[in-house]
Symmetry: C3
Subunit: 121 residues, 3 copies
C-alpha cells in the first residue's frame, strides 16, 4: 500500500495517509492570538488537510489535544463541540503540555479514516 | 470500511473502530481516589470497552499513559504489569502531564487490534 | 491479521506490528548524556527496530517526540532533520513532558507502515 504525503518539509508532513488511515498534526498560525482564535485556525486547517487526504471531520478515529494551559479547556471545547458532527466524535485525549513555540496555546493530532464508509466494510 | 463507535457524546467517543484497529481513551471515575484505585478503574473500563469493540487486552498495539505525577509510576506499573497477559505487552509511552480534571491522576490511550488473529493474516 | 511483537517484556514491547502498521516507542540508554547523544541513541535504535519489523525510516506515518526540556528542541531537530530521508517526513508532534526516568531527555513514539509500497496499493 502506498504512502501519500501532503505539505512535506525536511521535518514533518502536514498529513500522511496509508492503508485507509490518515495522520495529521496542526498548530496555530497566529502565535499572539487567544485560544479561541488559535483553536479556530487549527480546526479550519485540519478540515482542509482532511479534505486533501480524502477524509473529513465525520471520520475521525483518535484526537490528541495538547493545551499549553488547561485553563483554556472550556474555550477550546466550545469550538470543538460544535465543530464535530453530531454522532461522529473520535476517541479523545486532552493534556496540558508546553509546546514547541511559546506562542502556541494548542496543538492537535488526528488519526482519521481515509477510505469512504461502505456497507461491505 | 465502516467506522464503529461506542459511548459517543458531543465531545468524544469511548471507542472508535476502523479497518481492524480500535482507538480508546479512558480516565478515572473516582476523582478523589489514589493512583491504585484510579488505575484499577481505568484498566477495568478499558477491558470492557475492548470487549465491546471485539478486542481484548492481549491484542494491544500501542499504549500512551499520562500520569499527573510521575511519583505514581511504580504503583501504576504494579497493576499494569499484572493486567497485561504475558507475552502480549504493547509498545508503551508514559509521560507526566496535567490532565483535564484536577482529580485525574491517570489517563490511558490505547490502540488495539479488533480483528481476531488468523494464520491467513 | 496476526500481531507481531519484538522485545516484549512484562510491561512493554519494543515494537508491535499489525495490519500493515508498526508501533514503536524508544527512550535513551545513556541517562547521563546530553540531548545530542540521547537523540542519536534513540534514532539509531528506532532504525534497528523498524528494520526488524519490516519497515524503515522512509515509511514513517506519525511521530510524537517528548522532550524533558523544550530548550533541547533545536539540538534534537538538527539530528532529526538529517535522519529523515528527504520527502519522507511523517506527521509530527513535539511537546515538553517529564518522562519516566529523570535522566531521559527524549522519548519518541512512531507509527510506521510495515508493508512495502506497491502501485496496486
Amino acid at each position: 500500500m502506498k504512502i501519500q504525503r501532503h505539505g512535506t518539509t525536511r521535518r514533518y508532513s502536514d498529513s500522511v495517509s496509508h492503508a485507509g488511515s490518515v495522520y495529521l498534526v496542526e498548530v496555530p498560525q497566529s502565535t499572539e492570538a487567544d485560544i479561541r482564535t488559535q483553536t479556530r485556525e487549527v480546526l479550519d486547517s485540519l478540515e482542509r488537510l482532511l479534505a486533501q487526504a480524502g477524509s473529513d471531520k465525520s471520520r475521525l478515529l483518535l484526537a490528541t489535544i495538547y493545551l499549553r494551559n488547561m485553563e483554556d479547556y472550556d474555550a477550546m471545547n466550545e469550538l470543538w463541540d460544535t465543530w464535530i458532527p453530531e454522532g461522529c466524535a473520535p476517541a479523545r485525549a486532552c493534556i496540558q503540555a508546553k509546546l514547541a513555540h511559546p506562542g502556541y496555546r494548542i496543538e492537535v493530532v488526528l488519526i482519521a479514516a481515509s477510505i469512504p464508509d461502505s456497507p461491505a466494510g
